[in-house]
């Protein structure tokens, strides 16, 4: 009799392992959108998370304020020194913007890849196990958020993209997540501009990997890296970070630059989801018959 019970348990265990594998396989597929029960569960918990997020925000804000007060003096000094330069810079920017607009009008080009509409959102949850770098925000489809939109931190640096959306909440995958399908077309600013794609994150050094830079490109340290807008969904010119190191890749055909992200991936309170004004190109328009789809 005990033998029989042991067998029953063994069978139960094996069956549940099979179900486990099936479920993992199901959720690892590239899904356009989550199933309805999943969306419902996420929205329901999102509502509760919203309730918790408010007081939590007050508490963390309080501690941050206290911390800020501690180094007000030195900060103030530095800010004052920069303020003088700012006035001149502002005047310059205004003039340039005006000029740019005029030139665009002459060319008859109204929309640009740079234009975007920001949607403000507050972070209401974060994955505690931190294997999948995921955060949850309090805006969803009703606010116009769609899958794959770019997400920018409050200081203006790219931090990730929208992974999935529900009616009232959305899930964001951070750049620091390891996901081979998470590629962002980027551009290194300098005298000459070089294009590459951000693929992957070096956990050890906390740097993003910018791959596929041409082998003859002369990339220097501290050059700024921004999105190129050529990926089809992100707008152009969102800051990502700056180059700290360049290496030839394993076959010597390309170079890989290590990019220090400008955004802090840890204390994220408020984010902006960025909606590109310019239309997305259809995938079928972009893929030639001769070219292989990536």
């Amino acid at each position: 009799m005990p033998q029989f019970f042991l067998n029953k348990r063994l069978i139960f265990l094996l069956v549940s392992i099979i179900i486990l594998v099936a479920l993992i396989g199901f959720s690892l597929r590239e899904r356009e959108e989550l199933t309805v029960p999943e969306q419902f569960l996420k929205d329901a918990t999102g509502w509760i998370q919203n309730v918790f997020a408010k007081p939590q925000g007050y508490v963390t804000d309080f501690f941050e304020n206290v911390k800020d007060l501690q180094n007000t003096y030195s900060e103030n000094k530095e800010l004052k020194s920069r303020l003088d330069k700012l006035a001149k810079l502002e005047a310059d920017v205004q003039q340039l913007e005006k000029e740019n607009e005029e030139l665009r009008e002459i060319l008859g080009e109204k929309e640009s890849l740079r234009d975007y509409e920001p949607i403000q959102a507050t972070v209401i949850g974060r994955n505690p196990d931190r294997w999948h770098e995921i955060i949850i925000i309090n805006k969803g489809e009703v606010n116009g958020i769609e899958q794959n939109m770019a997400v920018v931190s409050s200081n203006g640096y790219l931090i990730g993209k929208v992974k999935s959306t529900q009616q009232f909440t959305a899930t964001i995958q951070l750049l620091s997540a390891m996901d081979p399908t998470n590629r962002i077309s980027a551009e290194i600013k300098g005298n000459e501009e070089y294009f590459g794609t951000i693929e992957g994150y070096d956990v050890d050094r906390e740097l993003l990997k910018l791959k596929r830079i041409p082998y003859d490109a002369k990339v220097e340290k501290q050059q700024k890296v921004v999105t190129s807008g050529l990926g089809g969904i992100f707008p152009q010119n969102l800051s990502i970070g700056e180059v700290v190191d360049v290496e030839p890749d394993e076959f010597g055909l390309n170079q890989t630059a290590y990019v220090k992200p400008g955004a802090n991936f840890y204390n994220i309170r408020n984010v902006m989801v960025v909606k590109r004004v310019m239309d997305q190109p259809n995938l079928s328009d972009m893929v030639d018959d001769e070219e292989e789809e990536l």
């Binding site: 989550l34 569960l41 949850g125 505690p128 999948h132 996901d179």
Partner: protein, 172 residues
Amino acid sequence: MRKFLLPLLFIFFFMLESIFVQSLPAEMFNSDRILVPRFLMIAIIFLTLYGNRNHGLIYALVFGLLFDVVYTEIIGVYLFLFPFIAYLTSKVMRLLQANIVVIAVVSLLGVALLELCVYELTFLINKTDMVFSMFVDLRWVPTLILNLAFIIIFAYPLKRHFEKYAQSLKAE
């Protein structure tokens, strides 16, 4: 009212994990070490050991599914591991003395096993390229220390609460 207390408590722990990770100061993270709160797992283990085993397993199943759907978007990992570890600890405790220190150690071992299994599974589905020695240094040991602190603080209140719960179940 009493009926809702237990689900509310577990929902609170469920939210607490996310809040904890979100509001920990950045410096602690930037020191490379990753602390993973496993408060929910600990509460489930205590419920299975002090309260009612079957209720513990049901809570493990429900909150495992919720954890998967809400936090990781990969269904199955926690759905399987939470009940599995709760069941395993209840089996182990049959062999050992039901003393609060022993139970604290067993639940810490449960958390250790959970972390290890989650690491192996994430590694298997290629969502991380962390090598094992790095995992031990950066994640396993800091996580266990954090959860040990949690167990030390909450073991006694949890024990009392779940014992009361078991009594009220018997009275019914």
